[in-house]
Symmetry: C2
Subunit: 441 residues, 2 copies
């Protein structure tokens, strides 16, 4: 069996990022907000031995034109902690990753909730640290102006120190619970953090025992310069969105290099790009499914996405013709335009199809048979483009079943994905060490 093993997490909030997903034939239109469906999804992912179930988050209804809003299947969702806590009871092994913001929450609350989820799930919690880039969120939290980018990252770094410090409030063996003597805990094994920093003042101790994993697994999703640096210093899993293997390898090398420079073991940080997976009996059938899915994206929303990507108004183009070759010069990003033009040529897409691709899901995609998809994943793993993937499903339940029942067995046949869980905690699934307590050794 090859040494290198792939890690798989499932992107589950929303359950599909594709805007047309809820309309696909035989899909659940309310998949995002139906507990029975979500229970069945996580059980299938656990049966397939996925590392984790990953919930992104937004602290607002996203600002979008009413034509897009009324077609959005993501406007109503469960809140991550309540949902993951509920799902922890119906699963035993799969990791539970929740997003929480360092800009619009308090470190005492965050430390406590993740510790509680980690105890409830016997060591399966992960914290996806975000600084909340969406300016709409600020208006829901009493601020007219969004906190500036570098300020957010500075606060995030301090916030991480406070949260991890609070998790270490109690030594692992602080609780004695001796009924005979009446001694419940050893007061020498409580640490009062008493943090006083630039942005935060938090006394402690936390009112919950140290998490089962020591610290829940730390996840980071930033790709900006401060985001990469924060990830290199703190993250144990990185969610990212490279477009192709070349850019993925550059990102992989950069973040691992920064981690090494920060004195960390590069294997203790797993790079997990988002990958949209569409499976067919043939590559052509899979491509056909994708086109059928894209065709469910409303044209008015879609053409706006194309106009933005091209930097020119596209609504006058013939929807059923090819992309015009005489596009006017603009100040828009040449890289963005070039990649759109190349996409149209490569896949021979009409203006409508191109627009619907951009309005649906246009990130990294593996579209093919279980064999071609598994082969591509293995290449990414071997060439250091990825340590695994954050799988984005095109529609549910079928798109999820295709991955768990068809792609995963092919990965297992190749010897690059587990047949059974060998540990019980998410740290064990990911091959990460349990942090020692910084105040008690």
């Amino acid at each position: 069996m090859p040494d290198k093993q792939l890690h798989l997490t499932a992107f589950m909030r929303p359950v599909s990022l594709h805007t047309g997903a809820w309309r696909y034939p035989n899909s659940y239109p309310d998949a995002n907000f139906n507990l029975a469906h979500l229970k069945s999804f996580i059980k299938k992912l656990e049966d397939a031995k996925f590392d984790a179930f990953f919930m992104a988050d937004h602290l607002a209804v996203l600002n979008m034109p009413v034509e897009a809003l009324k077609r959005s299947h993501t406007v109503t969702s469960f809140e991550p902690f309540t949902l993951l806590s509920a799902l922890s009871v119906v699963t035993e092994r799969i990791g539970l990753a929740a997003t929480a913001s360092t800009t619009y929450d308090e470190p005492y609350h965050i430390a406590r909730r993740f510790a509680s989820l980690d105890h409830l799930s016997s060591g399966r919690a992960a914290w996806n640290i975000v600084t909340t880039g969406n300016p709409e969120a600020s208006k829901n939290f009493g601020r007219d102006e969004h906190l500036e980018h570098s300020e957010r990252y500075k606060r995030a770094r301090e916030f991480y120190d406070v949260v991890t410090g609070l998790w270490d409030s109690f030594a692992d063996d602080a609780f004695i619970r001796d009924q005979e003597s009446g001694i419940f805990l050893d007061p020498e094994k409580i640490h009062v953090l008493d943090h006083k920093g630039d942005d935060l003042q938090v006394r402690g101790p936390l009112n919950i025992a140290r998490p089962v994993q020591g610290w829940p697994v730390i996840v980071q999703a930033g790709q900006s310069e401060p985001g990469r640096q924060l990830a290199a210093e703190t993250a144990e899993a990185v969610f990212c969105s490279p477009r192709d293997l070349e850019s993925a390898k550059a990102l992989y090398a950069d973040i691992k290099g920064r981690a090494t420079a920060a004195g960390r073991d590069r294997d203790h940080l797993k790079i997990l790009p988002a990958a949209f997976i569409v499976v067919g009996d043939t590559v052509e059938e899979a491509q056909g499914k994708r086109l059928a899915l894209d065709s469910l994206v409303h044209y008015d929303s879609a053409i706006a996405s194309l106009s933005i990507a091209l930097g020119t108004e596209a609504s006058g183009f013939d929807p059923d013709g090819p992309l015009p070759t005489d596009l006017p010069e603009t100040n828009a990003s040449k890289t963005s335009r070039a990649s759109v033009v190349k996409l149209a040529e490569d896949e021979k897409l009409s203006v409508r199809q191109l627009a619907q691709r951009l309005g649906g899901y246009s990130g990294l995609a593996f579209v093919g048979t279980p064999e071609t998809i598994a082969a591509a994943m293995e290449t990414w793993l071997q060439e250091e483009g990825a340590d695994g993937f954050t799988v984005v499903f095109p529609f549910l339940p079928q798109g999820l079943d295709d991955v768990t029942q068809r792609v995963v067995p092919e990965l297992q046949r190749r010897g690059i994905f587990r047949q059974e869980y060998t540990g019980t905690t998410l740290r064990e699934h990911l091959g990460l060490p349990r942090p020692t307590n910084q105040f008690f050794s």
Copy 2:
């Protein structure tokens, strides 16, 4: 069957308020922090048709002398939302009441989490509004000084308006989910709150559908003047701690009167005093169990409680003698001293026993046989001292089993407690109406 029906909620964080509970013979020393135990408790409470499982909360490890701290079984607990969400999956009918602070949290977070819990549980959530009186909490949330009492209540009132306004962000029928037309929701059925008040600015809308119950049930626990007024204006269930039936009747009349004055239906506000219940085959056996439980309170902590209650240093008294009759005059509360002196006389308690009573649990208690306890509860119900009780267990699991298996059947025999749930939501259990949406009728 009598018209008036009793409501029962269980005080479950901590699972026992008695400081010696974890040491009682055959009790679980870790009952407060063991998911398997908590699951079994809530299932037993649901089998007994309790209205709700109630979680108090603290946002800090309480400040106490190290001698008390090391004996405290409540220092580590699950966080209310994560625990109740997990327990929602293993139950079907019982209500789930969580405490959340208006001083140290954000209304958008609170509205969202309670809405999420209400959806996960199909309409069983309740919000116990607290303003967090513990000054230790302020130090965990970046403030050196605790927010002043009247300021806290002013903010709480505004916070309630914002949270209930956010719950009404979507009309009940906003979500269409028509796969054919691609219309997921009706944008005319979204309300943007755009609240701008003295303490809070929150735009909205909330990113989750209106709760199943319209609004989760509102609980309030204040007994101060502003606390009573806030309860009268907003609460649908009131947790309180009267010492006896006379004071309970006065409190009941006062809060119901304030509710009527505020234009509310007095039956839409249930008064549920805390009651510590110890059951025996005879009254004497129950009293003996209580003395045995009290004897597990450490004397050093206990005598400090007695000194405070008497307003004089009690550590020099003979532990095994009666309370001295020549207590020196002090400036301490005469009411407090008189009630302690009366307690010692009534129950013929030694100094040690008296101290351990005060250091254990000294609030309202029903100690007797299932028949005497049920009779007392019926008297309180008929004489308008209570609409039900928030039951405090002396030790677990036995103390909980005694109530669910012995007291509840006696209440059912008397026709003052349900044999089966007749509704599915907590509002239905409590006989409360579902609020209409203030923005969509």
